[in-house]
């Protein structure tokens, strides 16, 4: 059964953030003696966004949240819930949500929590935010997906693990709604495709197992179930965003569901910024909203290892047009870039530390 809020809920604002710095696949390949073609042509990833030395998933979440609140054009004190989904929280114990809530001015009368489910933590936060708004328990909810992810040095995932995030202000549908959440569906199983044990610095993965039994099974099942229940075919959607661990998986998922390239292109950011983990589908959606028009239908399907997918059917409303210019676009952030070398990256990520 798909999830439909009893009262209509939509986005009042959206916003994203991508750090300025980029690490190219050539640069990583150079250090580890790998073939950059394998990533560029094989996985459609050119470079990934990496965080500067003063950034982390909390600072990414703050800016994404701020941008979404700017677009929502509301009093932050009316936000009743602030959720942050991430797998790279700066603290193991101390919520990122409280920092975001404080930074945007939503404290102290606010519910706050951090969400975790690998790369789908952000979309989960959107689901829960939707429920709180629909039930009338809060007027507005803010849900953010943000990560400064880190691949194990020398591992394949190092080529794609990137930094970025996007946030959404949710409220009851009305004249200023940007887009309605028509319905959502979560498909979850216990699948060990990608994991990190407590206390371990880097994740491990099941290589090609991460494909068919993991990503494709969950993304495909979530999308199909949602579309079937709502009676939609791929043609009914103007745009589709799939989780982007690399440039190949989302394209294959799109094809198998009948989506053409032009529909997924606006939200396909991985080639230029890598996999922003919990930020991946939220950023893809943000980039799509930056150019969407009232009446557009958008399918969003996230994926989190472990494993699960959240699928959403979103209908763009009239309220979107005036809000676009209230915050920087995702393109503004994608185009703001400076390439760094591998040694700078490992210093910034504290993988080498000067002794005190």
């Amino acid at each position: 059964m798909v999830m439909k809020p009893v009262n209509p809920v939509g986005f009042l604002g959206w916003g994203g953030y991508i750090p300025r710095y980029r690490l190219s696949v050539e640069e990583i390949a150079r250090v580890w003696g790998k073939d950059p073609k394998r990533y560029r042509q094989g996985l459609f990833v050119d470079e990934k966004a990496v965080a500067g030395p003063d950034e982390d998933s909390a600072t990414v979440a703050v800016e994404a949240a701020r941008n979404s609140v700017l677009r929502a054009n509301i009093n932050a004190k009316d936000i009743g819930a602030v959720f942050v989904g991430s797998e790279s929280n700066p603290y193991a114990v101390k919520p990122t949500g409280t920092l975001v809530a404080e930074a945007i001015g939503a404290t102290p009368s606010v519910l706050s929590a951090d969400f975790e489910f690998a790369c789908k933590a952000g979309t989960e936060a959107i689901q829960c935010g939707t429920a709180l708004v629909a039930s009338g328990m809060v007027k507005y909810a803010l849900s953010v997906g943000a990560d400064v992810s880190q691949g194990a040095p020398g591992d394949d995932l190092e080529f794609t693990a990137a930094a970025g995030g996007a946030g959404y202000v949710l409220g009851r549908s009305g004249s200023d709604t940007v887009a309605d959440i028509e319905a959502s569906y979560s498909f979850v199983t216990d699948t060990p495709d990608f994991w990190r044990r407590q206390g371990q610095p880097y994740p491990r993965h099941g290589e090609s197992f991460t494909g068919t039994p993991a990503y494709f099974k969950h993304v495909g099942s979530a999308a199909k179930k949602l579309m079937d229940e709502l009676g939609y075919k791929a043609n009914d959607f103007n745009y589709a965003i799939f989780h982007q661990p690399n440039g190949k998986f989302p394209v294959r998922a799109a094809n198998s569901l009948g989506f053409t390239m032009d529909k997924i292109k606006p939200g396909l950011l991985v080639t230029k910024i890598g996999n922003t983990y919990s930020g991946s589908s939220p950023l893809g959606l943000a980039a799509t909203l930056d150019i969407a028009k009232p009446g557009d239908k958008i399918l969003v399907v996230s994926y989190g290892s472990g494993a699960g997918s959240d699928a959403f059917s979103i209908i763009v409303k009239d309220g979107i047009e005036t809000k676009k210019q209230l915050a920087p676009s995702i393109t503004d952030y994608v185009n703001r870039k400076l390439n760094v070398d591998y040694s700078t990256y490992i210093k910034w990520y504290r993988m080498i530390v000067a002794p005190t």
Partner: protein, 133 residues
Amino acid sequence: MSSARIWREIPQRYRLEGTKCAKCGTATFPPRSTCPKCGADEMKLYMLPRAGKIVTYSLIHSAPEGFETNVPYPVALIELDDGTRITSQLTDCENSEITVGMPVEMAVRRIREESPSGIIVYGYKFRPKVRKS
């Protein structure tokens, strides 16, 4: 740095909360309880603007403890859009591209941490505007 010291100035560091004199209109940052201009005790909460331009700057090469890793880093005296001034680090720009008069905007970033197990201090830094328009 203790929890209390880090926590006390959060509204200033995260939201640029200052004060403004209800009598003469002078804005101050950090907040004051007595107006430095007219001496009245009528300072009210005031949210500083988050954009401004660089008045002067320097690149710190010889850093104090806790800031050594990323030298040389830029610091600047910034005049915000309402005329109030603030000192801050700059970020997201190459040292060579900094100029007096450059427009900048606020972002919340990690400022310092006392140790890998200590509290992380977050606060404002200023950077070139993301949107050129």
